[in-house]
């Protein structure tokens, strides 16, 4: 396969990402077949690729069509599907009510502290009063160690913020995937 064709098919494959893998590779294979066929017919590669149009535009035509698919009428047809859907929607809805604000708050608070802590450390080093670094028993971090200690603390907050963000992201993805599964689309026969 020549470079231009390979680039074209790569670009197409990349932009067909929203499609399920089997449809995606089927479409790419068909376009590849078209190009090879046209080349064998004596058409110059540039003309063949020009006829197909921009790879991204072609991919968009496939993808736009995919999203236009209507849910099958039987999506909620059976009793078990209906119950399953109800349980899923109410269950995740209730769970999200706690999980999302909690993780969101934790993440943003930890992120804020990760930024603020080193600043406080610097201020304490230069003797700004009112910044306490120590435990409840009265032990205090020596003033000269304020900045290093604050950096360690900030790193811990950053890790916490990162973990919170990852968790929240993972949670949202799982729930969204669940909703998507609830909408069964007609599959390619």
């Amino acid at each position: 396969m020549d470079d231009a064709t390979e680039r074209y098919l790569d670009e197409l494959r990349r932009n067909l990402r929203p499609l399920p893998e089997d449809e995606r590779s089927d479409a790419v294979r068909e376009i590849e077949s078209h190009i090879t066929e046209a080349q064998a017919d004596g058409r110059p590669t540039a003309a063949v690729l020009g006829g197909l149009g921009d790879a991204r535009t072609l991919a968009r035509a496939y993808v736009a069509d995919y999203h236009l698919r209507v849910p099958r009428e039987g999506a909620l047809g059976s009793v078990s599907r209906f119950i399953l859907s109800s349980v899923f929607v109410s269950g995740t809805g209730l769970l999200s009510l706690f999980v999302v604000p909690l993780l969101g708050l934790l993440t943003s608070l930890a992120g804020l502290l990760a930024v603020v802590t080193p600043v406080l450390g610097v201020l304490r080093t230069f003797g700004v009063p009112g910044i306490v670094m120590g435990d409840s028993a009265g032990w205090q971090v020596p003033v000269m160690w304020s900045f290093p200690a604050s950096v360690v603390l900030a790193a811990a907050f950053a890790v916490l913020a990162w973990a919170g963000y990852k968790l929240l992201r993972g949670y949202l993805l799982v729930v969204l995937a669940g909703y998507r599964r609830l909408l069964p689309f007609r599959t390619v026969p």
Binding site: R29, E37, A40, G51
Partner: protein, 119 residues
């Protein structure tokens, strides 16, 4: 008054009729994409961008109007052949009847050569 652009109107008409033509061509014999594109090229007004034919074929397949199957070819790449499903054949028959009916009616609304030359 709105400016009516013949070009835009034409491309809309073509888009709608392309589906009918593709179904009709696939009805005459099983065809693969390149074959279909070449067949459409015989008629200048129907010559469709390949970029519209392939996504259309995918949609027709998804809607159960055509079915596609990959077949090895003697020389060259494997080809995906399309043929009508019973549902597609039924649909084609009704679409073709609609088309003829519509076409006849439209024809009658158009001014005749004679009327135009006098007007």
């Amino acid at each position: 008054m709105a400016v009516v652009r013949a070009g835009e109107w034409s491309s809309q008409i073509r888009r709608g009729t392309l589906e009918l033509c593709v179904l009709a061509l696939v009805d005459s014999k099983p065809r693969y994409g390149y074959d279909l594109v070449s067949a459409l090229e015989q008629w200048e007004p129907l010559a469709a961008k390949e970029g519209t034919v392939y996504p259309l074929l995918r949609r027709l397949q998804r809607e159960g109007k055509v079915e596609g199957s990959w077949q090895e070819s003697v020389a060259g790449p494997p080809r995906k052949y399309y043929q009508l499903t019973p549902h597609g054949r039924d649909l084609l028959r009704r679409m073709a009847a609609d088309w003829v009916e519509l076409n006849e009616a439209v024809q009658q609304t158009l001014p005749t050569e004679e009327a135009r030359s006098h007007g």
